[in-house]
């Protein structure tokens, strides 16, 4: 505490009136001295001593050793001294639980004090003392205070319930405090209010605000309890309270309102009308919470309604005003505006200028403004935007300049009419020769070439001049791509590429891959002069490189070129798909969810709360309400609430975060790829975490029953079940190798689960059957290993299936021609058809099999990976995909997490393609890659998927949409199995 000493030196002859005097004794004997002072007889000295203690505490010093002495000062009439002691208690009671008991009596007494201020102070402080033993004593005083005649005390007590819940949730429920809280919400009954009671009502309404805040906090940590029962009556009360309570209370009430789904557009409009005045509040948090309510409820209003237009107009000014606030507020506002602009661009389309960057804006504000400028860019304002961007490209801050240059490229791609101007602006910037500007410019010019082929190639010469200054991989790769793509127009393309080849091994993978492809392109275009070059690069890639991606690509090119150059040309120089116009758009489903979370941390991070909030409790995905006319019934119930309500009543006492973790663990370790949980019901799917728990438990209990009774030892024997799943990765890998080695004509091996024992010998009089399923060249095969563990020879094998979900049936007889002698093993492959009789099974992919031999008939059941039903023509047209995705109701969507997957998106997509899961489109949003995939099952069912992959995060999120949502769980398991093997 050097500064403290220094400070007191400075103050020796300065004012003695300041608190810095409390730091004068920060030397060795301090605690001892304080102890003596605290036990002094003189009141004034005592108080000064307590102040010294508090002062030390605030700078983070440990003064807990003085606990008994400070507590001794508690019995006093001096309110300031009492408050100071209370402050001390709150900080240290936890570390001294036994001592804290000493204080209980005083608290209980103070809760009965005639002065409401002291009653409130006591109940408030008691709630902050997070010691179990004290909480027991807290209940009675708290109950009294919740019913206190003074609203101030009631208001304080409401918050105290939340505190207590934090410490001991069970206690709060047992004591019925939650009900009392709910009663507080109806504290005000407008029906009985006469003029004279008006002011009383207002006081009560502040109690309501606190009760709502307390309940919301509890509800957040406790998603199952349907605490805030929102119905038109309670909503009306909240709206009344909204006008009267403090600004902070308004935030909580608005956030609470946002969880409600009105019955129809009329109710929606009337709530909007009552919320709109909040847009003029001085507190920006109130404004943004009001914006959230309006954005959400607007969704229900018919667009042709006059009021809809009025509302749109009212939203712009407050948002603009937020941008003139302090920079931190601006930042949060901008992150939210970014969402709003994507959802409803019309609100701010005329406000481009307010997003212009000022040179002394903090960098985080600058970057956000830039992003929004691009989103708002249109043909009407593009000239203005470009002029600004060009200005920014000469700023000081490197990150900002880079982003500005990229933004110019994005403008070119977004607004076709501006492309020419953008390109010439970029060329101007390249002329500046500022290294990082040039590199960024080249990266974006590559994209412009992709978007507008054969239009701007005249600039290539200028680009080539800057070849030597490029030192960043992305810029080098972009330049190499350009050279390769336009090799026929660049006379010295071979020289240029050759120059890169010299340091091939020092380049990053990105550049190496690009160089390989570019040289192959060059060779295909100018075969005569570049043969040597292509051989050089192929050998560098295949023989001297450790990188499997590079090697594989090298080999593929090599084979292609050596076997069929014409085919090679068709593949390598194929016409490229157009790149999308809008980049960095948030996915519609995520956007909807984020709109429901405007003003929250989720809106700042642009991630659903489930993705990052610590211990995010039983993931509740919020959705925008569906547009419903007043005549129709509500089709889309409030998902947030419904989910809370329909949650399994399993274990309310489990702390949800733990439940979630448990669910994750179960899902991770115990659900083997071939066993499935129960067929998920549609409503259950939205439960996220809870569902995982359910699924996990079920697979634990029931998943193995058919397979191996020896293993399904029971609930506690988790490790006993493990082998099946542990086998999976190893065996799966082997299966892949086999597949490759076997040289079956497939580019990539489809995933084949490892063989598992289906029928143990002891159950089948010595016949052991293990096996797996595979799809090879479009044919589904059941691969069986029959082992004779009995003493006698087995003959006359036959197989039959029970009816099953996808009509699987043997396509021929079981080919075991020779008798099976003792200790002999035979492997058979049984082709299957999908035209057999159909019956829905539970789990869906369950297959009941009967095997006959000369001894007896045996029955077993096994589960097949649904991926073997994925047919080869499962690649959907992009347009069809988009339409289908929209067409399938959101209720049919399920979300899953794939954990610990360390593939990049490209590798994942290749792998999945091997199993007939086709990637249709890909886009990158905020560092997250979104892969869109389609799957077609043998019975014609389509499954659409959206896979989110984030660099550096081994957890993928997958959303599945299908008209038959019951297959989602199986499909998800396939994803997991394929990606992890």
């Amino acid at each position: 505490m050097e500064w403290a000493n220094q400070l007191c030196e400075n103050r020796q002859f300065g004012s003695k009136m300041t608190d810095s005097k409390y730091f004068t004794t920060t030397k060795k004997g301090e605690i001892f001295e304080l102890k003596a002072e605290l036990n002094s007889d003189k009141k004034e000295k005592k108080k000064e001593a307590v102040k010294k203690v508090i002062a030390s505490m605030t700078v983070g010093k440990d003064v807990s050793a003085l606990f008994p002495d400070v507590v001794n000062c508690m019995q006093t009439d001096n309110l300031e001294l009492k408050k100071l002691v209370y402050l001390y208690l709150m900080n240290y009671a936890k570390s001294q639980p036994d001592m804290a008991i000493m204080a209980v009596n005083t608290f209980v007494k103070d809760c009965e004090d005639p002065n409401p201020l002291i009653r409130a102070l006591a109940v408030r402080t008691m709630g902050c003392i997070r010691v179990d033993k004290i909480t027991e004593y807290l209940c009675e005083p708290l109950r009294k205070c919740l019913k206190d005649e003074d609203p101030y005390v009631r208001k304080t007590a409401a918050v105290c319930v939340a505190k207590l819940h934090d410490i001991n949730a069970q206690l709060v429920e047992d004591q019925g405090f939650l009900d009392t809280l709910k009663d507080l919400i109806s504290d005000s009954n407008p029906m009985v209010t006469s003029g004279g009671q008006r002011s009383l009502l207002k006081k009560k309404l502040q109690v309501v605000a606190n009760a709502v805040a307390a309940l919301s906090e509890i509800a957040e940590s406790h998603p199952n309890s349907n605490l805030l029962d929102l119905n038109p009556q309670s909503i009306n009360k909240l709206l009344t309270a909204l006008n009267e309570c403090t600004e902070w209370g308004q935030i909580f009430i608005l956030d609470c309102l946002a969880n409600y789904t009105p019955r129809d557009d009329r109710e929606s409009q009337s709530i909007c009308e009552r919320v709109t005045p909040r847009l003029s509040h001085a507190n920006s948090a109130v404004v943004l919470s009001a914006v959230k309510v309006l954005m959400k409820f607007m969704e229900m209003l018919p667009k042709d309604l006059d009021y809809y237009g009025t509302l749109l107009k009212k939203l712009a000014p407050p948002l603009v005003t937020l941008l003139s606030a302090e920079p931190e507020l601006q930042y949060v506002a901008l992150r939210n505006i970014n969402l709003i602009v994507q959802k409803r661009p019309e609100i701010l389309k005329h406000e481009m200028k307010v997003f212009f960057v000022k040179y002394n804006d903090p960098i985080y504000v600058k970057l956000e403004k830039l992003d929004i400028m691009i989103r708002l860019a249109s043909q009407a304002n593009i000239a203005q935007v470009l002029a600004e961007l060009k200005e920014y490209a000469t700023e000081v801050d490197v990150d900002f300049v880079r982003k500005a240059v990229r933004a110019i490229g994005r403008c070119a791609i977004k607004v076709e009419q501006s492309a020419e101007r953008c390109v010439s602006t970029l060329l101007d910037l390249i002329q500046t020769k500022v290294n990082y500007v040039v590199q960024e410019a080249i990266v974006v010019i590559k994209d412009i070439f992709r978007k507008y082929p054969n239009k701007y190639e005249s600039v290539i010469a200028t680009l080539c001049e800057n070849l030597d200054s490029l030192d960043e991989p992305e810029a080098r790769a972009a330049m190499i791509w350009i050279v390769g793509e336009y090799a026929e127009r660049i006379d010295n393309a071979d020289e240029l590429l050759e120059s890169f080849l010299e340091g091939f091994h020092d380049e990053s993978t990105q550049v190496q891959l690009q160089l390989l492809t570019a040289i192959v392109k060059l060779f295909l275009k100018k075969p005569t002069e570049t043969q040597e070059l292509v051989q050089q690069v192929l050998s560098l890639a295949t023989q001297d490189s450790d990188n499997p991606d590079l090697r594989d690509r090298g080999y593929i090119y090599w084979r292609l070129l050596s076997t069929d150059p014409v085919a090679a040309k068709e593949v390598v120089l194929a016409e490229k798909p157009l790149i999308s116009e809008e980049t960095d758009l948030i996915e519609p489903t995520l956007l909807e969810e984020l709109i429901c979370h405007i003003g929250t941390l989720a809106s700042v991070y642009h991630k659903p709360p489930s993705a990052f909030v610590e211990g995010s409790r039983g993931v509740m995905h919020k959705r925008l309400p569906a547009r419903t006319g007043s005549g129709e019934g509500t089709e889309c119930p409030d998902v947030g609430n419904a989910a809370g309500g329909s949650a399994p009543e399993s274990a309310p006492s489990i702390i949800p975060s733990q439940g979630d973790l448990l669910g994750d663990l179960l899902n991770l370790d115990l659900a083997p790829p071939t066993t499935t949980g129960p067929t998920p019901s549609t409503s259950g799917m939205q439960m996220g975490g809870m569902d995982l728990l359910g699924g996990g438990l079920d697979s634990l209990l029931g998943g193995d029953i058919g397979g191996s009774p020896a293993m399904g030892a029971g609930f506690g024997a988790a490790p006993a079940v493990m082998p099946t799943s542990l086998n999976a990765p190893v065996g799966g890998g082997l299966g892949d190798l086999f597949d490759l080695g076997g040289g079956v004509g497939m580019p990539m091996g489809a995933y084949i689960p490892p063989k598992t024992v289906w029928l143990p010998a002891m159950k089948a009089k010595g016949l052991e059957i293990s096996g797996t399923f595979a799809r090879r060249a479009g044919v589904i095969q059941m691969e069986l290993v029959l082992t004779n563990k009995a003493m006698s020879v087995m003959t006359d094998f036959a197989i039959q299936f029970n009816r099953n979900s996808f009509g699987l049936a043997p396509a021929g007889p079981l080919q075991v021609l020779t008798p099976l002698g003792p200790n002999q093993t035979i492997e058979v492959s049984l082709p299957l058809s999908t035209v057999g009789p159909v019956m829905k099974m539970d789990p869906l992919n369950n297959l009941q099999v009967a095997v006959k031999n000369n001894i007896d008939v045996f029955y077993f059941s096994c589960q097949y990976p649904i991926s073997m039903l994925f047919v080869e023509d499962g690649k959907m047209e992009r347009q069809v995909f988009l339409a289908t995705w929209k067409d399938i109701p959101n209720d049919n969507e399920s979300q899953f997490q794939i954990q610990d997957c360390h593939l990049n998106s490209e590798a994942a997509s290749n792998k999945l393609q091997g199993s007939n899961i086709f990637t249709i489109a890909k886009r990158t949003v905020e560092g997250q890659e979104m892969l869109y995939m389609s799957i077609k099952l043998s019975n014609g069912i389509w499954v659409l998927a959206e896979l989110k992959v984030q660099a550096g995060n081994p957890n993928y999120t997958i959303s599945l949409k299908c008209r038959a949502p019951e297959v989602s769980q199986c499909v998800f398991q396939c994803y997991e199995a394929v990606l992890k093997n």
Binding site: L7, M17, S20, E44, E217, F356, Y364, T394, V434
Partner: protein, 418 residues
């Protein structure tokens, strides 16, 4: 809700911590300090930081970082607003918000923080209410307290806390009843090299100082309320009356408060009071450059422009400068490369000019960036948007108050690009 608060000075030292829930170790601030190290300027530290177990939401104000720790999903704006409220409270109580002031009043600040938040929920944030709970320090009171042993802590429940108008304390008495309103407008503008307005808007605020006895009910009306694009009000203003009649009707808090803020955004309406002719250039070869800046009045509505000041962040590679000002004086800090030219009053007959040479460090390339000029100015008795108060009426009390309105226009973020 808000778990903890740390006050941190620019050198990264934590000098106050307050916890409203369980104690969070101050090591959590390391994540923030790390981000602070990375940022070029203290202003550039991101306001929301994600750590494995907490979120850190901070503001930088009055050269101090106010850092709050939160654990659950809380509206970040709520936290940021609240942090600003703490800074305002310190300013309000002790006359300034600085490290020294906080250290001098450590215990009182701590007591105030406890009153402002309970378990992370805001409890009393209205200055009127707080001051009844904990009386602000005055020299007289400290002397009296020391002599008599009384304290700064009020022992009755503040009436405002739960009255129908929480912002006003009861039983206010003045011998001179007066109500003053300051209409302050700030021009935010970006002008390009040629002096054309790229962007301009006006941020206005009506600050009030009302010292009236009893429960006065005031109505303030404007000549031209339609000018205002977006308004936000102190909670005391009756919104419905504004909506229907465009008048401000309110029972005021006692003392100083911000009655309303507003926004004028129609670009054509914004008058730009000064023009700036400037050229900052560097010679292609050699290590020299020239600077030449002239400021002149433009649309001033016949008023005098005062307090004119030009601030320039010169490029980092500047070695030294040699300038002469025809009016006022300039200072230059070679460490931060900040050039400040304090001009004072603008004389339309003799325009102030600053010119001279800039020399670059030997061998340094021609600077790439173009420094922007930041302009400061003040115009008394003018609201540049043209907003005018029509009248102020008082109901509910019998006495005749003394009323006054003052207008002032200032430069906000007023920038000229070069």
């Amino acid at each position: 809700m808000i778990n903890s608060l740390f006050l941190i000075n620019p050198s990264g030292e934590i000098f106050l911590e307050k916890h409203w829930k369980s104690v969070v170790s101050r090591s959590v601030c390391d994540y923030f300090l790390e981000a602070k190290e990375k940022a070029l300027e203290p202003e550039d530290v991101p306001p929301v930081i994600h750590t494995p177990h907490h979120y850190l939401i901070s503001i930088y104000r009055d050269k101090l970082f106010f850092l709050s720790v939160i654990q659950t999903e809380v509206p970040p704006l709520f936290v940021i607003e609240f942090l600003h409220r703490i800074a305002e409270m310190i300013q309000d109580y002790f006359g300034e918000c600085s490290e020294t002031v906080v250290k001098d009043h450590m215990v009182m600040v701590y007591e105030l923080l406890e009153e402002m938040l309970d378990n992370g929920f805001p409890l009393a944030t209205e200055s009127n209410v707080l001051k009844e709970m904990i009386r602000p320090p005055t020299i007289l009171r400290s002397v009296v307290n020391t002599l008599t042993g009384t304290s700064n802590v009020g022992d009755t429940l503040p009436t405002g806390q739960l009255s129908t108008i929480p912002w006003r304390r009861a039983g206010v008495r003045y011998t001179n009843n007066e109500a003053y309103f300051d209409v302050v407008e700030e021009i935010d503008a970006i002008l390009d090299q040629s002096g054309t307005t790229v962007f301009a808007e006006i941020q206005g605020v009506v600050e009030a100082c009302v010292k009236l006895s009893g429960m006065p009910d005031l109505t303030l009306s404007f000549m031209n309320p339609c000018l205002l694009d977006d308004v936000s009000f102190h909670p005391c203003v009756r919104y419905k009356l504004w909506e229907s009649e465009r008048v401000l009707s309110f029972i005021p808090p006692d003392g100083n408060f911000t009655l309303m803020t507003y926004h004028v955004n129609a670009q054509n309406l914004v008058a730009i009071p000064v023009y700036v002719k400037q050229s900052i250039s560097f010679f292609e070869c050699g290590s020299d450059g020239r600077l030449d800046v002239t400021v002149g009045p433009k649309q001033t509505m016949g008023k005098t422009v005062e307090g004119v000041m030009v601030t320039v962040h010169l490029p980092k590679t500047i070695l030294s400068i040699n300038l002469t000002a025809t009016q006022g004086s300039y200072t230059y800090d070679n460490g931060t490369k900040l050039l400040v030219w304090d001009i004072g009053k603008l004389n339309p007959q003799k325009l102030p000019n600053l010119r001279g040479s800039l020399s670059l460090q030997a061998g340094a390339p021609k600077p790439e960036e173009n420094p922007s000029l930041n302009i400061d100015l003040k115009i008394q008795q003018l609201a540049i948007s043209g907003l005018k108060v029509n009248r102020l009426d008082m109901f509910g009390e019998k006495y005749k108050p003394f009323k006054g309105v003052k207008y002032i226009t200032k430069a906000g973020k007023f920038q000229v690009r070069t």
